[in-house]
């Protein structure tokens, strides 16, 4: 299946050791691409993050310097948003995993005798991609707005205080993040579970393990590659997301994440060094968390 592309193979392939000019030639476009569109912007980002305001004092004009103080200012000024970003991203990842695992298990294992149902459900998982991410989030904004039937219904049932809102709260932001990244969690999980050999589960129950123990000791470890790639595919973009948390969508004043801060620094305050330093902080923290996570889950092959 095409979706296996999301999963990581456990079999290590033999790497040909022979050096070849042809291979180098074939690699050249890729290397050029990486240099032009990854390395150069990265270096430029690092340089920008260290710039100091220009001597002439124009707003938005900066000169090259080694002003590492930008980082200190960013961290002290935006500490809340940095912590909030990762907190929301962790929550969204956990919720997406809890929602996606049973779904992926159903599609990949339970529905095996009915390939048509499998394919139908996979299409349903991917279907939201056919509509723009922004439109879907806006749709949720109106669905969760104070005037919506959902919110008025909750208020009528006294499940929500009369003056409470859903949009603009952390609940709405985490919900939006979870909703938007569920397919990225479900597909790698599906790809891993689809290849799960049920004979291992039978062997587990034959060896006196209750169904819950079989799940904990056999199913989870065997689907670990899928869990790791799903978590990475969800956590990394969620931590840097600026759509869900922005005030135009599901967020409010108190829900700004790093993405929103970077956006406002870059587009409104024209404080490029602050935006650049925040971007680098985001990148470094994500790298650190991901490295620690991958080490812990025992799938170093991914790095």
């Amino acid at each position: 299946m095409a979706f296996s592309a999301f999963a990581t193979g456990t079999a290590r392939e033999q790497v040909p050791r022979r050096k070849s000019r042809v291979a180098l030639l074939l690699l050249l476009p890729g290397i050029l691409y990486l240099v032009l569109f990854f390395l150069v912007p990265l270096v430029s980002l690092v340089i920008t993050s260290l710039q100091a305001p220009s001597a002439f004092g124009d707003v938005g004009s900066y000169q090259t310097a080694f002003n590492w103080n930008n980082y200190v200012v960013s961290i002290t000024q935006y500490g809340d948003q940095i912590v909030r970003s990762f907190f929301y991203a962790v929550l969204a990842t956990v919720f997406a995993l809890l929602f996606s695992y049973p779904l992926a298990y159903f599609i990949g294992v339970t529905a095996r005798p009915w390939p048509l149902l499998q394919n139908l459900m996979l299409v349903l998982v991917i279907a939201p991609f056919f509509i723009s991410f922004l439109l879907r989030t806006l749709a949720w904004k109106s669905l969760l707005s104070d005037e919506s039937g959902f919110v008025t219904g909750l208020k009528a049932l006294s499940l929500l205080a009369p003056d409470a809102h859903i949009t603009g709260t952390p609940v709405a932001v985490v919900f939006g993040l979870t909703y938007n990244f569920i397919p990225f969690m479900t597909l790698p999980l599906y790809a891993a579970l689809e290849r799960l050999d049920t004979q291992y589960l039978e062997a587990g129950s034959d060896l006196y393990a209750r169904p819950s123990t079989v799940f904990r000791k056999v199913t989870i470890p065997l689907s670990m590659p899928g869990i790791v790639s799903g978590v990475l595919l969800t956590f990394i973009p969620a931590a840097g997301d600026y759509v869900n948390a922005s005030r135009e969508f599901l967020g409010g004043t108190g829900t700004a994440m790093m993405g929103n801060v970077i956006e406002s620094n870059f587009l409104i305050l024209l404080n490029y060094p602050a935006a650049a330093s925040l971007s680098i902080i985001l990148m470094v923290v994500i790298l650190a968390i991901v490295t620690a996570y991958v080490r812990r889950s025992g799938t170093e092959d991914l790095l």
């Binding site: 050999d197 004979q199 291992y200 039978e202 062997a203 587990g204 129950s205 034959d206 060896l207 006196y208 393990a209 209750r210 123990t213 000791k217 056999v218 470890p221 065997l222 670990m224």
Partner: protein, 399 residues
């Protein structure tokens, strides 16, 4: 719970009127079977005969449509696999790929919270001579080693009943012979009840005390290997367990201790005690190695049966013996195994020959004579349709 402690000894297994129906076909039909404690029992049959389904029913991996399963006198029909005092050596071993060998072997012990799980697992690994590989992963082991680990993982739990699902199928011939002997000696050593499923008749005969030949979801014949081989009851058993020459004809004459059957004009005598049917159309058989090949017409005596003349249409030399196929007009082909006593085959291809055998070596089958004594596949659309219809009819009748 029955699984809380090691089984002191093997338990006997009893299947009572077990049925298993899958959508579209019946895998097992009214199977009743008793396997005494401590025995090595083989279920032998072609693929699709229901032997693996039987094993899975005993393990609890499938639910019986009807019937009871008793282990050591206790009804386990409605219990889950993890509650049964049974362990399985799977055909593809099913060793957990994410665990080391020692963790694999200790898995069952840990689940039952048995003290010293690791020490006991090492002991079991020593039994199969693999303790030095305890820290490896299953993928780092060869097929034969994996097979032995799978065996250790099962017997370490001292199950009352050990189920073996063609565990030697993936091994090469030499390793298979070696493992057969090892399995047999382990069984004698630990005294557990072994239920071994295989399609390899040689394997079943060398290892098991009792062999049950299964066909189309039913047991055709059950007994000690020698008995099954010497006196097959049906054409299926006669052909599945070794080869047989089968002839069908009407009974011409009976005496107190023998019956004579008219086979294409020749009178063939079979001892009455070795024949299951004594009148009407009877199928009689003789094993190819019991036949002698003659280049001149042998004299027919009271102790021998003679058929011929026929023509040798094929000779295949296999070292110790040669297999001859002799075409006898009106009878078809007769297979003869003869030891190569001289240099080269005894009869060249095309030679005119007679075959003879001692009366006491013949056997008479219980089967109704049929045009196709060998089993035919029952998985074509028509058969499935007929089975479905039958199932529906019986359900309607019940309702």
């Amino acid at each position: 719970m029955a699984t809380a402690a090691f089984a002191e000894a093997g338990a006997d297994l009893e299947l009572v009127g077990v049925h298993k129906r899958f959508p579209g076909f019946t895998a097992i039909e009214d199977l009743s079977l008793t396997i005494p404690a401590g025995s090595f029992f083989a279920l032998l049959g072609p693929s699709g005969c229901g032997k693996t389904t039987t094993l899975r029913l005993v393990a609890g991996l499938e639910e019986a449509t009807a019937g009871r399963i008793l282990i050591g006198g206790k009804d386990v029909t409605d219990t889950k696999p993890f509650q049964r005092p049974v362990n399985t050596v799977f055909q593809s071993y099913a060793l957990f790929p994410h665990m080391s060998i020692i963790e694999n072997v200790a898995f069952g012990l840990r689940r039952r919270r048995i003290a010293d799980a690791t020490a006991k697992a090492h002991e079991a690994l020593s039994l199969v001579e693999l303790d030095h590989l305890a820290t490896r992963r299953p993928s780092q082991l060869s097929g034969g080693q994996q097979q032995r680990v799978a065996l250790a993982r099962a017997i370490v739990n001292r199950p009352a009943l050990l189920l073996l699902d063609e565990p030697l199928g993936a091994l090469d011939l030499k390793l298979r012979r070696q493992m057969q002997l090892e399995l047999k000696s382990i069984q004698e050593e630990v005294g557990l009840t072994f239920l071994h499923v295989t399609h390899d008749q040689e394997e079943a005969m060398t290892m098991a005390d009792t062999v049950a030949v299964m066909n189309k979801g039913q047991i055709e014949q059950l007994g000690a290997p020698e008995v099954l081989y010497e006196l097959p009851r049906t054409a299926f058993v006669a052909n599945f367990l070794g080869q047989s020459n089968l002839f069908t004809g009407p009974v011409a004459d009976t005496t107190a201790d023998s019956i004579s059957v008219n086979i294409a004009g020749s009178k063939i005598v079979v001892p009455r005690a070795r024949a299951k049917r004594h009148s009407g159309q009877v199928t009689i058989g003789v094993r190819p190695e019991k036949l002698s090949l003659h280049l001149t017409a042998p004299e027919k005596t009271a102790e021998t049966n003679v058929l011929g003349p026929g023509r040798v249409i094929d000779v295949s030399f296999s070292g110790v013996s040669s297999q001859y196929i002799v075409a006898v007009p009106g009878l078809g082909s007769i297979i003869v195994f003869a030891q190569n006593m001289g240099a080269g085959p005894m009869a060249p291809e095309g030679a005119e020959t007679w075959v003879s055998w001692k009366v006491e070596h013949g056997f008479g089958l219980e089967d109704e004579a049929s045009a196709a004594p060998r089993f035919t596949a029952d998985d074509d659309t028509a058969t499935i349709a007929v089975q479905k219809k039958r199932a529906l009819m019986s359900e309607l009748e019940e309702a």
